[in-house]
């Protein structure tokens, strides 16, 4: 049963999977639905073989440069820095951004041992110093770790690159009584003057 134990150990390395869930998943794949197990093994192995981080932006790609980085129609000098692929996909869905990305795969978190190196920040800075970037947009988490990450990047680059951060506040279509106090306080302190037609 060594193979079973090995599989359980491997599943437990996934985020949010505890020992009980790992055992249940393993038995499911081996007994209840072996076809799903085989399919999972095949597709995982193919994905691992064919996808790797894009040399430039670190998003997953089947080619050395991903489709976005290789796209001449996009402005390669405007870079949106995101914490994960999820945000990249979400921004892509809006269809309003025509630059490229840099994926950190996380944010600064000293207690988890995650510093600038783990986030590929030296790689990003190298691209900035190479002169290929004129604007960086920080689309990072609004919590302290995201703020620290954006600040760290800002501290490492000179004035030749323009820097911006996404606006924070009340999400569209949400009523105020569903907001937590932290969001509400940021929305209040970054309030904007109303445009009037009077003048």
């Amino acid at each position: 049963m060594e193979a079973l134990e090995q599989l359980i150990v491997a599943l437990r390395r996934l985020p949010t999977i505890g020992p009980k869930t790992a055992r249940r998943l393993a038995l499911h794949l081996l007994q209840r639905d072996r076809a799903a197990g085989a399919e999972l093994a095949r597709s995982l192995s193919t994905a691992l073989d064919t996808l790797q981080p894009c040399r430039q932006c670190r998003q997953l790609s089947a080619t050395e440069l991903c489709g976005i980085c290789a796209d001449d129609e996009r402005d390669q000098q405007i870079v949106c820095v995101v914490e994960s692929l999820d945000e990249l996909y979400q921004i892509e869905q809006t269809g309003v951004f025509n630059g490229r990305y840099f994926v950190l795969n996380g944010h600064l978190s000293p207690l988890d041992g995650i510093g600038p190196e783990e986030l590929g920040i030296p790689q990003l800075l190298e691209q900035v110093r190479g002169g290929g970037i004129r604007e960086l947009i920080m689309a990072l988490s609004t919590q302290v770790e995201g703020e620290a990450t954006a600040q760290y990047i800002a501290d490492q680059i000179g004035p030749e690159v323009s820097l911006s951060t996404l606006a924070q506040g009340v999400p569209m279509g949400r009523s105020l009584n569903h907001l937590d106090p932290a969001t509400l306080s940021v929305a209040l302190s970054s309030r904007v003057a109303r445009q009037t037609d009077a003048e």
Binding site: L111, G115, Q151, Q156, P181, A182, S185
Partner: protein, 228 residues
């Protein structure tokens, strides 16, 4: 098990756990650092004063309820690094199951000071000094290793942990040590000495693994210097 009063707590670190909960590392005023399981996937904030209702075994605490106990502290710009530095220090060094009421107060006051824009260096040095005391290794400014009171005219060496050794070729001036004892951190020479001493003393407890947040204080662009 019922009716336990909530404790004052800050979250030092939160890790998603299973599909529906968090594993929280908490800094509590009355039991030091503890790890607690908190069911619920609503956002949990660092630097947010909470009242936490805790129960369960010593090694597996459940946080039944996490109630906001004051405004969240907004730490922006380089103050965000400093805040992460505080949490890394506490997470690495604060013992479990000890009364830490005094240090908890200092932590809260330090965050408030950072938020208010108070000069950061003296705040951090004061916190480091109190943390060393919490560990039971407060730096002894009253007497040297031989039991003699520190003299302004004498030179000293630091033992790397918490005591001074009188030595004519020592790199530390007694006069500055006495000024540091009285927290005269507004004097540049004293502030520099404090930084140097406390860093050594903290390294003694941190061991081989250095602090990730120290890395953040190094900047490469001139004119954008940060502090630690």
């Amino acid at each position: 098990m019922i009716g336990l009063p909530p404790v004052n707590a800050f979250v030092l670190q939160r890790t998603p756990y299973r599909e529906d909960s968090w594993l929280l590392r908490l800094f509590t005023s009355d039991r030091g650092q503890i790890t607690a399981h908190y069911r619920g996937r609503d956002a949990v904030y660092l630097y947010q004063p909470y009242h936490a209702e805790l129960q369960g075994r010593d090694d597996w605490q459940r946080c039944q309820h996490l109630e906001i106990a004051g405004p969240v502290l907004r730490l922006t710009g380089q103050r965000a690094y400093l805040a992460l530095y505080l949490n890394e220090l506490c997470g690495r060094l604060l013992p479990r199951w000890v009364n830490a009421e005094s240090l908890f107060g200092t932590y809260y006051a330090t965050l408030k000071g950072l938020q208010a824009g108070t000069p950061a260096e003296p705040l951090l040095r004061y916190f480091e000094r109190r943390l060393l005391e919490q560990l039971g290794f407060g730096i002894d400014f009253r007497e040297d290793v031989a039991g003699e009171p520190l003299h302004a005219a004498q030179r000293y060496r630091f033992d790397g942990c918490n005591r001074f050794v009188a030595a004519d070729d020592g790199e530390l001036e007694g006069q500055l040590l006495l000024a540091l004892q009285n927290n005269h951190l507004d004097q540049p020479a004293v502030a520099l000495l404090a930084k140097h001493l406390f860093r050594q003393a903290l390294s003694y407890h941190l061991g081989e693994q250095s602090l990730v947040s120290r890395e953040l204080f190094r900047t490469r662009v001139p004119g954008k210097g940060s502090q630690s």
